[in-house]
Symmetry: D3
Subunit: 227 residues, 6 copies
């Protein structure tokens, strides 16, 4: 039984200090770590753009319409099926891709084979275990967590050194009730929401490990599932 | 400036004790309550089916594909725009309609005019204020909250008396990591997840009021928004 | 062998005297009456909007594009199929939904299981039998027939009393060659075409009964069909 | 102000005696006759296939899905608009293309510029004036009317002589309530419904002329329309 | 095993001397010639419009969007399949329909049954064998080749005499690197690219024959294919 | 005036010796080289999958349907437009993406701003100038050219060293008339068509440079274009 990890990234501003491809780097790193834990699994090339319309107030976003994302994800999954892959895990690097849940549910009607991850619980547990200073809800975008992971990836030479530490600035914006209506801009002057000044590559290493650990538990369940 | 509330319901099993149209009744009741608070607003007829593929293991679900939901919501909104309505609030009765967030963000690129509600915060606050015994996350489907609202609506004569109290049964299923992959069935024998035995029409009345109150605060902000 | 009745309504002006949801009320009432005649049948929640672009000259219309209607109808039918329903009757309350015929024909290529009703013959016979004063062709919209059915439904308490008898006005507009091009507006100042002043709840009761009777005959044939 | 006539044909069996392209020949002939009456007008090449799923029981049908027909008609109309054409008349040769009415209404929301013809009234009047023996409703397919027009077109050398008079056979099938569900096959052994034995090229010439005359009156109105 | 030839034409300017339907005439003539060589084959009615956006700078083009062309071609092919046809040859008269290759490849995933022709090699060989004065790359549009075939078809009475020899003019425009970006207009004042003054009906007869011969060889291979 | 290079890659087998992402690496390298020549330009993340249905006979292909590719390319281009980018160059690494030409032509109807490259001429000239041993037509897939570029990219450390030189094997398959119908498999046992044994990193460096040079000339024209 084959297993594929399909990372879904995004291209959107991540404050002045992180690259626009941050979500893609993170999705890919998680998928890569997961793949090492599961023999007979592999990682599909990352989809580098998805639903980023909420970042339109800042330069740099490339957004696919929801119908386009649905088509791409279905086509990739159908290609994997044709190769004989029986379980497919979408590794989503961009919180705003809510519709992935609907895509999975729709495809799973006849057999359970598509699974979206990480979920909120995975993130919460990983933040806790990696001892980050705050919850992901307040550290939502380009904050302590994402910046830490990027610092770690730079240290490992996995991505080139493009983080500029001198531009770090924390933005605390705990309530964002109109985010889906008015976008990020009104809630942050930098583009980030969270606490990047608290980031460190050590935290990033831990956070990434814990995300992979948490998700692995659910993937194990998914593989063992008999429904 | 006109304001419209557009309830999104669903048609899916709600345990042996609640009607399959429960989410539609709730969405419609919230929208109706909101409309009373906002002069110059009105309520659009409820969309009675949406994304319910996770309930396929039980009889009674009618599900629209994600692409269909996108088309319906866009067409209704465009018709409202043509009438001169400038702010549109989607009142979502079914937690599984994740993609509504994406639909809104995509339509709001040029101007903020579509808003999805209630969000998680609204539900959490309303559960607290109405003094329900547990969080909505554990009382997810046809539990204390939904059953209470339905009891209230029956008492008010708004919906006919179809709830059968002798079939109540609580199901505690706090962790459902594979829900999107394997559906509801493996997590509940009755179809419900939560605590319907604790329901009362008094709680339902309060919960509905608090939901309307919480959402109203955000709608006020949305109307006052100058972005 | 299960049988489902799926009412297709609309949301569009029906003159100053009838509610914009008139077609939905009528479709639902016919479907409900039909269901009582056929054991093992049930009624799906009414689709409350469809193709009403010809009413754009008046306020109140919500219109779905043709492609959207096709998707919704196909999805509902496929959900019913999945439940094991083998015959599906679309009960169309809005004359302008011509495309339902094409949707049915396309779905029936492999097996005959979708049927659109009432057809013109059903309406003509019912008008005759209920002794309405004129043909449905001249009493096309919010006229004697529709107003009578609404009066009947109000009398029965099925819909709330929103008809305002003091605003009745007959409009005779027998030829409307450009209706599809220029819409209703040029053919009627009130929005209605027909003779609402002649309406009565007694006629409405009869008309509804006769429609149900006429359609039942065809549904019997449909169920007995061996093709 | 330019005017274009866009013939919509079909490819489907027309009994043993008429070619499968009969509807296309008729649509094209009407369009061609109309164009001669209107200076500054022209005829677009005929769309040779449309919605013929009801003929699937016989060989020879090529059918486009409804969504495909919508796309083709919209694209052709948009191309004509780009050329500066301001009024477009769809000349429909195939009765089963109900959805053309919806396509027109949807495109006419902002300005009335698309018009579908002939309507039922045009056909009825033309049948009467050409003194055909029966109504078009009973002479629905490959009957006296269509066969007569084809005989006329053969006589004129417009189409090659492919009608085989020795295979004529009348089929009277006045009631076809389940046509959209079960197709043509159960209502006719030959594929035709109507009275081809009564056809003559003289009747065909008259019928075609009268159709063109009747439609011209409406097209005049359409051109003069100020809505 | 049935075989169908499906001609894909276009509607676009072909200089002042050739009709806008030139590509359709040529596709149809090739298909007709091919069909005579293969017993049990037949010719589907020509699709008279396709992808002609590059001719928008001149009057007369009707263009279908790529998604529309995909739908039409798929629907026609599926209708042919339903009739039992097992091999389908698209005979493309318009060089700009690049996407036909993708449509074929996508449909051939499970079994090889759709084939697009003529390819570049067929055209090159036919130009050589018919002793045309130049390569098709320089004689790209309404040039020596297409004009010759049209002259031949006129001589045969297959199409009416609409070529106006006094408007012939050669345009040599060998390099057109930006054609897909800026269209035909900047590369030709007449709309043609090539050498129509060198055309003759004799060359047209030969060219058509050679095209049919060349394509036949590949169709034979296609029919004999066991993959 | 901004300029963006958008590389279109693919994921498909490239013989036993090259990675399945070869086309993506090449598209990205060309785009990167082009961007260095044009100030104020940038490179969009590579689309890593496209139309690879012809490789289905071998493992490893992920294919997007044509309609999906159209949607993705349109969405990316529309996002770039929104950022103010006025010229967009698609850098296509996969020969089988014929439809990109149609996508560009369709989007260029109102203004010329989308351009697909490299074209056949660019490849031919670059092969010549880099002194490859044979034409690209015979060295079509994973041959001397692609292998050389990959060797060069490995040498530069741009991609990791995954080429396995001991598995090289030349396959000469100059005629592939049925490729679109039957796929690659019948024309090659290794998956490659061409002469990888003749590859060298020096040739790869030259070939890449010459491709960039050739394309630059056309991009200059495109930027200077006043149509």
């Amino acid at each position: 039984m084959g297993l594929a990890f399909f990372p879904i990234g995004s291209l959107e501003q991540h404050g002045p200090h992180l690259p626009i491809g941050t979500d893609s780097f993170i999705a890919q790193s998680i998928a890569s770590g997961l793949s090492k834990k599961f023999p007979n699994s592999f990682v599909v090339p990352t989809l580098p753009y998805s639903s980023s319309f909420e970042h339109i107030g800042f330069p740099g976003a490339i957004s696919l319409r929801s119908t386009t994302i649905i088509s791409v994800v279905q086509d990739v999954i159908h290609s994997l099926e044709r190769m004989g892959i029986q379980k497919i895990v979408l590794v989503n690097g961009h919180g705003g891709n809510y519709l992935l849940g609907n895509i999975a549910q729709e495809m799973n009607v006849d057999k359970p084979y598509v699974f979206v991850t990480p979920n909120r619980h995975h993130w919460d547990r990983a933040y806790e275990k990696a001892e980050l200073s705050i919850s992901i809800s307040r550290d939502m975008h380009a904050g302590e967590g994402e910046t830490s992971i990027l610092l770690h990836l730079i240290e490992e030479g996995i991505i080139p050194s493009s983080v500029k530490p001198d531009k770090y600035m924390d933005v605390d914006s705990p309530n964002r009730p109109l985010l889906q209506a008015i976008g990020m801009r009104p809630y942050t002057s930098t583009g980030a929401i969270g606490f990047p000044t608290r980031a460190s590559s050590r935290k990033g290493k831990l956070l990434l490990q814990e995300l992979i650990n948490q998700i692995s538990i659910t993937v194990e369940e998914f593989l063992g599932d008999k429904h």
